[in-house]
């Protein structure tokens, strides 16, 4: 296989910056001890430890470019969740977390394979890392991004996605001259033209929807790489 590096042991991340762009999103930038360089698309595991040694761990895609001195994650708060509300409500600059990563060697894009990415909601996060990397290295024409969410407010990195040139497909509000709708086949066809690979990230329902429209756009299943978040319906 490829030589994509994987972090083999737990390390420490110190929160250096934290931002709450909306009531539902928290962006955390960590300084990571003994950091293993990542490839865009990989994720970290964050582990929280209670006084009685109970632990909870969750995976978070890396949003930052590998060149960024800090590792950035963007977390969407799930109601009644255990870890995401903690990160949104309690985490502060200076806190230390147990981290493990980078993890994943499959859902990575760091080469010149022309690709199309389709993300739903917080599923856009790994694509932000890919976009930042692609822009820095000047290979951005090879990476096309479609980002879908109910509303602008629910879409992490919406400004950055727009300035990259991503197609922003909002389902519950009109966006510039695009009428509120799910991603429709013609939108995908235009962007999938020439793509040899597709990456899809989001909820289970979103992933199967995106898989179908990619199929209609001529991308065969074996060229689709998937990352799913969250509980099933």
């Amino acid at each position: 296989m490829t030589s994509v590096p994987v972090g083999r042991s737990w390390t420490t991340g110190i929160v250096r910056e934290i931002e709450r762009p909306t009531d539902q999103l928290v962006k955390i930038r960590f300084e990571v001890a003994d950091r293993t360089p990542h490839r865009p698309g990989q994720h970290y595991v964050v582990r929280l430890r209670a006084p009685d040694d109970y632990t909870a761990q969750r995976s978070y895609s890396i949003a930052s470019d590998p060149d960024d001195p800090l590792v950035e994650i963007m977390v969407e708060v799930l109601p009644r969740g255990e870890v995401s509300p903690f990160l949104h409500e309690i985490a502060e600059v200076g806190d230390e977390f147990e981290l493990r990563g980078p993890i994943g060697r499959w859902f990575v894009w760091n080469d010149d394979v022309p690709s199309i990415c389709i993300g739903g909601g917080s599923g856009v996060v790994p694509f932000v890392s890919m976009m930042r990397y692609a822009q820095r290295t000047g290979i951005d024409p090879r990476l096309r991004v479609i980002a879908s969410a109910q509303t602008r407010e629910r879409l992490p990195y919406v400004d950055e996605l727009e300035s990259y040139g991503a197609l922003v497909a909002l389902t519950r509000e009109n966006h510039h001259d695009r009428v509120a709708a799910h991603i429709y086949p013609d939108e995908v066809k235009a962007l999938a033209f020439g793509a040899q690979r597709a990456y899809v990230c989001g909820s289970v329902g979103f992933v199967s929807f995106a898989g179908r429209i990619l199929g209609d756009a001529g991308i065969s299943d074996e060229n689709v790489r998937v990352e799913q978040f969250g509980p099933s319906a």
């Binding site: 994987v6 209670a50 006084p51 909870a56 230390e96 299943d221």
Partner: protein, 203 residues
Amino acid sequence: MGVTRGFTGRERKGADERLPPGQYDTGSSWPVLTAELAPHIDLTTWELAIGGLVEQPTNWTWDELRALPASSYNGDIHCVTTWSKFDTHFGGVSLDTLLEVARPKPEATHIVATATTGYTTNLPIDDVLDGKSWIVWEFDGKPLAQEHGGPVRMLVPHLYFWKSTKWITRIDFLDHDEPGFWERNGYHDRGDPWLEQRYQGDA
């Protein structure tokens, strides 16, 4: 490493002794995680091949499999993404039944299970023989849903669930260990939830 400031964890009703370290009870939900799109499988042409180091390479059709003595699993399952699901009921056939025909050779030490999608995972044979693994098509008395590997998947409930290959289509016996899809991508070669064998490098 020390305690996370301000973190107490979700309210716990005493430590459930059925919960391996680092896992939580997902209750009635059943999360889905795959690396590929869920394939549509046609049972009229589907086959399960058992090959590699066996005396009798065999191909089972769906009807042949259904004609074998049924076997079920009632118990817990554990996913590396930290959920566990208690008291599940799966119906299918014990892998032992299929291996009575195929008869693994003495030099076989490991298997690689393969899905129609190309997904693979490796297991030591000690983890699949003697009532430890199944080929299943029923969950809670109903046909196994496509997103959970239906119509047919493997079930190795004492290991993390990525070892329970969805949409299984072949099992090969080998005389060595050969990392599969997630194992090459950083996950553990064995995956015992009680030992927290999540990633390569874990004990």
